[in-house]
């Protein structure tokens, strides 16, 4: 129903129409279609909607990988499976455990050749609940659009991990920009590295939320 084309001079009629629209929408329990995000990202991004695409964007060293891993933890915390496509085999396994991922429901595909990347992501979208995929450089827009459609059809959350040199060429439901921050704890020659609190900007549609992740 194109509500925007109605004459805006009659607010009462418009309000009645909105109410009828609300009553006749098919009712799907929102609870069944979302995954709760655990950990420090929760105040900014409380839930992942199944079938959506959440792009985690950040340069190397900003904390983007850890943020993406906490999205994978959302799936394993609910008893489901998560998988990661790691293009150059550099993912640290222990960091997954520290981000809250249950390692017995977590799989990593290491050193996938770039020409097989789209096939590999498509295969994983069929089987697990959250797929975190590093975007290769020069990823094709056609492949990316097909993967978005497949994720929506299967109800899997796709989390592409992009960066300034490898952007995600298709649409996304939510974009999480991780901007990094200072590292506390280390001084010149003394101290130990403590957990950092990176600045994160979550953009979903027109809403934008900026915050600092608690350590």
């Amino acid at each position: 129903m194109a509500l925007a084309t109605l004459p805006s001079r009659d607010p009462a009629a418009r309000a009645r129409l909105v109410e009828v629209h609300g009553r006749t929408r098919p009712l799907v329990l929102a609870r069944a279609r979302t995954l709760t995000v655990p950990g420090p990202l929760r105040p900014l991004l409380p839930e992942l909607v199944r079938g959506s695409v959440v792009v985690v964007d950040g340069a190397a060293g900003t904390g983007a990988t850890t943020a993406a891993l906490s999205l994978c933890a959302a799936a394993t915390a609910a008893g489901e499976w998560a998988a990661v496509i790691d293009l150059d085999g550099t993912l640290g396994g222990e960091a997954g455990a520290a981000a809250g991922v249950a390692l017995e429901r977590f799989a990593v595909a290491r050193r996938v050749p770039p020409d097989r990347w789209a096939t590999a992501v498509a295969v994983l979208l069929d089987g697990v609940s959250v797929v975190m995929a590093e975007v290769p450089r020069h990823a094709r827009a056609g492949d990316a659009h097909r993967l978005v459609a497949r994720a929506r059809e299967r109800g899997t959350v796709l989390v592409p991990l992009a960066g300034p040199r490898n952007p995600w060429p298709a649409t996304a439901t939510t974009r999480v920009h991780v901007e990094g921050g200072p590292w506390p704890g280390l001084d010149t020659g003394s101290g130990l590295l403590a957990d950092r609190t990176p600045t994160v900007r979550v953009v979903a549609g027109t809403r934008e939320r900026v915050g600092v992740l608690a350590g």
């Binding site: 340069a59 190397a60 060293g61 900003t62 904390g63 983007a64 990988t65 850890t66 891993l69 008893g79 489901e80 499976w81 998988a83 085999g89 550099t90 993912l91 640290g92 396994g93 222990e94 960091a95 997954g96 455990a97 520290a98 390692l103 017995e104 429901r105 977590f106 799989a107 990593v108 595909a109 290491r110 050193r111 996938v112 050749p113 097989r116 096939t119 590999a120 295969v123 994983l124 069929d126 089987g127 697990v128 609940s129 300034p164 901007e179 990094g180 921050g181 200072p182 590292w183 280390l186 001084d187 010149t188 020659g189 003394s190 101290g191 130990l192 590295l193 403590a194 957990d195 950092r196």
Partner: protein, 532 residues
């Protein structure tokens, strides 16, 4: 009404894991030995040598209890692949007597006696012939038993004395079975425990119950155990004749010289075979695995499993069979071993029965999700290669790259016992890094004067690091740093000794501050990990 089970001969090598362990390590011959495997609650004893058994070590005992009974006990982990390889020699010896042998598991093999008994002049003659063949091959530990049905034959072999076979007359098997305690049913569902608590300590008492009542109370698994206790065939229906098109073949080109490749192909075959059988409502209890090499050598073995075979169990058995053949560890002489790569693997179901189904979890939940993920990951292995799809198994270590083990999908991972692994002395402090580089990214860690920072033998840095220069981060200024933490790995080994130092460095790049773990070894600095 079902016919009584056919006469079967069973060759049983008692404590086969112990025999294999002793063969592999001759120093263990004088010591009491126990072989343990991972059970539901830690390590339990699977087999014990004679002297260990005299001290009180029994099958099913926990490892600590076994060590408490018998001080000086040598405890070894079970190695099913080595046991299967070594059992291949026994299989070849018995194959000379009859071709129809069926391998149950390493240590036990059976075959129907109808043909060979007539040829060798009765059951006694057959036993003497098999005994002579085994003695020739120096396998005097084996015991032989004949009874109706494989279950009865296995128990008869257990009661047989060394060198003399036990022959249970035809039709006397139910009476023979009646004396045995219910623990011999060896059921995975704890049926024996339940039966003994219900006041049925002997198989005779269990067999006396009406079968309909047993089926109602204990389900299909209990009904199968009941049939075994009565001395009948485990599956009531006559084995369904196998449709000829159910054979699964895989031709390997180029030929597989490593067991892994052939086993991976066989796993795909096993999955396909079981899917097709499931579509027909059947499951198979006996499978013939045939393998052929480039030079035309063939090896065919019939495998049977007590409960129905699953694709994973079948793939494991194929791996055992090919392992012994390809590596030539069989021991009986080189003319039987494979001399070239494997070109063909064929799976032929030998005995199929109607499937009684598998009870899924009530809410579908974990098991269904796990199956879906398993199928997707196996397909991904086909796309990206079997070694690419891995799971994370944390183990102890100092550097981040040493603290995880990447276990390929499909292989067993031993999860560490307990929720928290104890801390590893010498481990890098701080949160675990998200990016670990192996091999390290080459960088230069420079002091304020532009010279590389070195660490003396006493652990003192030559200068404070001021710049981190390399391809990964460009020319970055060091804002904060920690260390150096000297490392001297394997100092006792002149060849493998590695000395270096660890640094925590926070470098400022145009985007953000990047914290990394830098290792300086032999004058060369490298980024081991980035805390992303």
């Amino acid at each position: 009404m079902s016919s009584p089970a056919e006469r079967t001969l069973c060759v049983w090598c008692p404590d086969w894991p112990v025999t294999v362990a002793r063969r592999g390590d001759p120093t263990l011959v004088d010591q009491p030995v126990a072989v343990v495997e991972r059970g539901a609650h830690g390590l339990v004893v699977r087999a014990a040598s004679g002297d260990a058994r005299r001290e009180g070590v029994r099958r099913g005992l926990r490892r600590r209890e076994a060590e408490a009974c018998c001080p000086g006990l040598a405890v070894l982990e079970a190695d099913p692949a080595a046991e299967a390889r070594a059992f291949e020699t026994v299989a070849r010896v018995v194959e000379a007597v009859t071709p129809g042998l069926v391998l149950e598991r390493p240590g036990v093999l059976t075959f129907p006696t109808r043909g060979p008994a007539r040829y060798f002049g009765g059951d006694e003659g057959l036993c003497r012939r098999v005994d002579a063949a085994l003695a020739e091959a120096d396998l005097v530990v084996a015991r032989i038993g004949i009874a109706d049905g494989t279950f009865g034959a296995q128990l008869a072999a257990r009661r047989a004395a060394r060198g003399a076979a036990l022959v249970v007359p035809p039709g006397a098997t139910p009476a023979f079975l009646g004396d045995w305690p219910v623990e011999v049913l060896d059921d995975a569902d704890e049926l024996p425990l339940l039966l003994s608590r219900l006041g049925l300590p002997r198989l005779g008492a269990f067999a006396a119950l009406p079968s309909a009542a047993v089926l109602a109370r204990f389900g299909p698994a209990g009904a199968r155990a009941h049939r075994r206790a009565r001395g009948l065939d485990e599956h009531p229906a006559r084995p369904v004749p196998v449709p000829p098109e159910l054979v699964e073949t895989c031709e390997l080109d180029p030929p597989a010289t490593r067991v892994d490749e052939a086993a991976f192909a066989a796993k795909g075959l096993a999955d396909r075979l079981f899917d097709r059988l499931a579509a027909l409502g059947l499951t198979c209890i006996q499978v013939v695995v045939e393998a052929e090499t480039e030079h035309g050598e063939r090896l065919a073995r019939r495998w049977r499993h007590e409960h129905a075979l699953t694709p994973g169990a079948l793939a494991t058995r194929v791996r055992w069979q090919l392992d012994g053949w390809l590596t030539g560890d069989g021991g009986t002489g080189e003319e039987d071993d494979a001399t070239a790569g494997i070109t063909l693997v064929r799976l032929r179901p030998d005995q199929v029965v109607p499937a009684t189904g598998r009870q899924l979890g009530f809410w579908g939940g974990d098991a269904a999700a796990g199956d879906r993920a398993d199928r997707a990951l196996v397909r991904l292995q086909a796309v990206a290669g079997p070694g690419s799809v891995v799971t994370v198994a944390p183990c102890g270590g100092r550097l981040p790259s040493e603290r995880v083990r990447w276990v390929p999908w499909g292989e067993a991972r031993d999860d560490p016992a307990g929720p928290e692994a104890p801390s590893w002395p010498g481990a890098v402090p701080g949160p675990p890094p998200a990016r670990v580089y192996e091999p390290r990214l080459a960088v230069s860690l420079l002091g304020a004067d532009g010279e590389p920072v070195t660490v003396s033998g006493r652990g003192e840095a030559s200068a404070a690091p001021a710049r981190l220069v390399g391809d990964a981060l460009g020319d970055a200024e060091v804002v904060a740093w920690g260390g150096p933490w000297p490392q001297d790995v394997r100092w006792w080994d002149r060849v493998c000794r590695r000395r270096g130092s660890l640094w925590h460095v926070v470098a400022r790049t145009p985007a953000t501050d990047v914290a990394c773990l830098v290792v300086v070894e032999a004058g060369q600095a490298g980024i081991e990990a980035i805390y992303d």
